[in-house]
Amino acid sequence: MRIDASVPMLISDCTNGRTRFPLEAETLGEALRRLVEMYPLLRVHLYDEQGGVRQHVLLYYNDENIAWLDDPGRIALKPGDKLRVLQAVSGG
């Protein structure tokens, strides 16, 4: 299944300058793994030393924050799905 992925401009030097690109995966869990396998420079920007998503980074599956999804490995991807990396809104 091919879905659309996107990252903020500031870290697009880790994705060959692209802020939007296709990603091949069958499940959301696989898509998350593939994202940092395809673009390993992204890993340090998305995840902290303990392997958790950074405090001010949001990973969204369509309109849902993956932090609140039970098991991304069991979520089958569908045509038109989106995986988005967002910078959390914080501060004034």
Partner: protein
Amino acid sequence: MAKRMNLLVGTNKGVFIFASDERRQEWSLKGPFLSGWEVYSVLGDSRHGKRIYAGTSHAAYGATIRVSDDFGESWTQIEQGPSYAKDTGFSLNRIWQLVPGHPSEPDTLFAGVEEAGIFVSRDRGTTWRELDGLTKHPTRPGWFPGAGGMCLHTILIDPRDPRRMWVAMSAVGVFRTEDGGMTWTPRNQGLARVPTGQPQEEVGFCVHKMVLDPNNPDTLYMQEHGGVFKSTDGGDSWFAIEEGVTLRDNDAPFGFPIVAAPNGDLFLLPLESSEQRAVAEGKLCVYGMLTGESRWSPTGDAVTDEPRHVSVLRDAMAADAMESYGLYFGTTSGEVFCSLDRGRTWDRLPGQLSRILSVKPWIVED
């Protein structure tokens, strides 16, 4: 062979490069490069070609090192950069210092980071590993941050021995190694102690910046939170050198940078006090203790005709290595100044940048 001066300026919104010929009278400005990234550390390295290293960080995206081999036009992120092992429990939030290794180790670089620690690369920056003897020191549970974070901001290497190094951390203190970073010993005797509320007597010293005397590597100088200090025994003991620089009665001189020029001239840019954290009366007044002198005195006011109620951060002041050295500093309001006469008179370089975090001269030979 002609020399060009590049002044690398790291700000909280990217890197800027001022360029001039060796007369340093007229400057051009390029940038911002790495726009949007904090650049706490920057290094121009001519040991293998012409490469710029930048320690980039961001509140959301963490810290990495990026390099440019074309004077900032394009950048590559180092994939295996400094990173704490998962089991340490530490976070790498900023890269405060990038320094080349000893001249006998031309492929070596060191990085000082926040949370405080030191990393080394032996392959020109491609891969890095922590010198974890420092963070495994028994005093580590007693390390606490200063207002700027718990940062390792100074790395000095003895020109006589690549295994002998000093690091300084805020608000931890000075540590020295004799074995290339495997083991470290606190070297803080005689420093003013900032109350950190913790019981370990060996640490808790808020070093702001430390330099090595270019003519005698057993002599070090320090701007500390609680005063200005000197050591003549490699850091084994420290004593205050503050005559002439007291800005407010009964207060130890407060500031962040201290610079040793190639001839041994020393410079400070004191602030009014720890409470104000801005220069006194809006005067960007540089203090010097020139070679042969034993007390500080004002050498020059960078802006004589109007006030600048700003600060100068610990790595935002530097001297270049030209035969007749230039002295530079950048302010928290984004102005850069240059003096070619040992700090007496100052020129403002073009442009208004963002908050200046680091100022590093880099001489390039064509």
